[in-house]
């Protein structure tokens, strides 16, 4: 029946498929698996969409989506929060991963197991004021002083390179860099944000579109989210097959890394939420107010407008 539906959708292709594009945040990785699955398995076609997955490179997804050049994109709660404050009309339409899987990683030899161990160590970041605030928030829980951490801007340098030299710990996504470390057999200590602060349990990454799309083409958005949701559900149930699909589309990626990362991530997509993609207003409000309290936002965010669950399949 699968081939049947494929040829059927081919037929559809000629007449009524709607061309839309989705812009990734950077290079394809396991955060994007659901999209690749939905495309490969024809879920998008079933919904009447012809989806083009675009690697934006330096162009970045947010501006393209906001300006309507692309209908959908992969973004982050941090970005959308800051974007909306600046009047950029981005809206999050699904959380790809339910909880924040990022954290501060360090080689096991450095013995950094909790925020208080940051004292006297060197953090390598990209120079954003958010970093210091986050570290500070974590350290406050253990009554440690953030000013005793030396913060170095390491720019584009990757984690493994950085910790070879002056850096002791850095902020990573476990699903990718952490898994790579496992593959290399390097022992890492992780200090997850979610373990120390609820407010920092924000959604990263998310699928986003712009306000205009929601207003003018709600059907398209609905169709897109539905298919993506099917894709991610497939990835949750069949991580290995899903990984194969991503590898097949992107042969230049390291297959071992993709497989392992996919396995690690499978349970994290939906996690404790009632359905994949669900977002809570609390999470948006918490993080925005945390940012505001730390002087990282100029004004308060209207959290209700920043996201919506209404396109998620019931």
């Amino acid at each position: 029946s699968n081939s049947n539906s494929a040829s059927e959708s081919k037929e559809k292709d000629k007449h009524s498929l709607k061309k839309v594009s989705v812009v990734l945040d950077w290079t394809p990785n396991t955060n994007h698996t659901g999209l690749y699955v939905a495309k490969e398995k024809g879920y998008f076609k079933d919904e009447g969409l012809d989806v083009d997955i675009i690697m934006p490179g330096d162009a970045g997804a947010d501006q393209l989506v906001a300006s309507g050049k692309s209908e959908f994109g992969v973004s982050y709660q941090e970005s959308i929060t800051q974007a909306r404050i600046q009047g950029v009309p981005l809206v999050s339409i699904a959380a790809v991963i339910q909880h924040n899987t990022s954290g501060f990683a360090s080689p096991a030899s450095k013995n950094i197991v909790s925020p208080k161990d940051f004292v006297g160590k060197t953090y390598g970041g990209w120079g954003s004021p958010v970093e210091k605030s986050v570290i500070s928030s974590l350290m406050k829980k253990e009554n440690a002083d953030v000013n005793k951490v030396s913060i170095v801007n390491m720019g584009d340098t990757d984690f493994f390179t950085a910790v070879k030299r002056d850096i002791d710990f850095a902020w990573i996504y476990y699903a990718w860099t952490g898994v790579e470390a496992e593959l290399r057999g390097e022992k890492l200590n992780m200090v997850y944000l979610t373990d120390y602060s609820d407010k920092l349990d924000y959604y990263t990454p998310v699928l986003a579109t712009n306000e205009n799309m929601i207003k003018e083409n709600p059907d398209t958005v609905q169709a897109f989210v539905k298919a993506a949701s099917k894709g991610y559900e497939f990835a949750i149930k069949h991580p290995s097959d899903a990984a194969d699909i991503l590898i097949k589309d992107m042969p230049d990626l390291d297959p071992n890394l993709v497989k392992k990362s996919q396995e690690w991530l499978a349970s994290k997509y939906q996690d404790d939420a009632p359905r994949w993609g669900e977002q809570k207003q609390k999470v948006w409000e918490n993080y925005a107010s945390w940012m505001f309290d730390n002087g990282l936002l100029e004004k308060k965010l209207d959290a209700k407008k920043a996201f919506t669950n209404k396109f998620l399949p019931q």
Binding site: W26, G57, Q63, L64, S67, K69
Partner: protein
């Protein structure tokens, strides 16, 4: 041609030596592969992954050739225009410099928003990279024209057009070729950068993918390809220069 091949062995030897030093140092000092793979590993990967890599290479070659050609055309036209219309030179020059100082990360979203993900925005990026050295070098070349010869040409009634084609352009050739060499060298990097504006294939795409999945050996395959292409383009320019400016070589003997 024989002479060129005969001369070619020297840089090749140097390259070979470099590889040998690299290999031994890498092995001796135990630099891990993911940081700096040895040349043998890189060549091995290049050989093995050739069929995956090949379309990327082709795509980048096409991009850089197109971009270089366009850069050459625009660079030369700009130089000629500014040379022949000195009163607009002062006004336009700052714009040229501005064009060289708009970071791609800022330009990229604008270009994509205006022109989509097609060929055009990429061409614009490569052209921006390539045209500037050509314009500056050509302009300075035109300016250097021997006064004595210019004097004769004008006295003999050369029109501005003739003065340009028969005297100033040939006189500027050596200088122009300086610019061409610089541009040819940049054109490949320009193409790679332009691929970061969202391309489906190309060395730039291959490289970022490899880099984000920590395949350092593939990153170096990409670099080798970039370098080899640049050397090739550069050599072609040098050959054309030898052929066009051979009177100078003859004189220098």
């Amino acid at each position: 041609m024989v002479k060129i091949i005969a001369k070619g062995w020297r840089p090749l030897t140097v390259l070979l030596l470099l590889f040998i030093v690299w290999e031994t140092v890498a092995i001796k000092s135990g630099v891990p592969d993911w940081l700096l793979p040895t040349p043998t590993k890189i060549f091995y990967e290049g050989f093995n992954g050739w069929f995956n890599f090949y379309p990327n290479l082709l795509s980048t070659i096409k991009l850089s050739l197109l971009g270089f050609a366009l850069g050459l055309l625009i660079g030369l036209l700009t130089a000629i225009l500014l040379h022949l219309l000195p009163f607009i030179r002062e006004s336009i020059y700052p714009l040229l410099i501005i064009s060289q100082n708009i970071p791609i990360i800022v330009l990229a979203p604008l270009l994509v928003i205006w022109f989509g993900f097609g060929l055009l925005p990429k061409m614009i990026v490569i052209t921006l990279v390539c045209f500037f050295p050509i314009t500056v070098a050509a302009l300075d070349g035109f300016k250097q024209t021997s006064n004595e010869l210019k004097h004769y040409m004008i006295m003999a009634g050369a029109s501005n057009k003739q003065l340009f084609w028969k005297l100033e352009l040939p006189y500027a050739l050596p200088s122009l070729f300086s610019g061409l060499k610089i541009s040819a060298t940049y054109s490949v990097m320009g193409a790679v950068i332009s691929e970061w504006l969202g391309a489906k294939e190309g060395i730039g795409v291959y490289m970022t993918l490899a880099s984000s999945s920590f395949r350092t050996d593939r990153v170096f395959v990409a670099i080798f390809a970039i370098v080899a292409l640049s050397l090739l383009f550069f050599s072609i320019i040098v050959l054309i220069e030898r052929w066009l400016v051979r009177w100078q070589l003859k004189g220098a003997k």
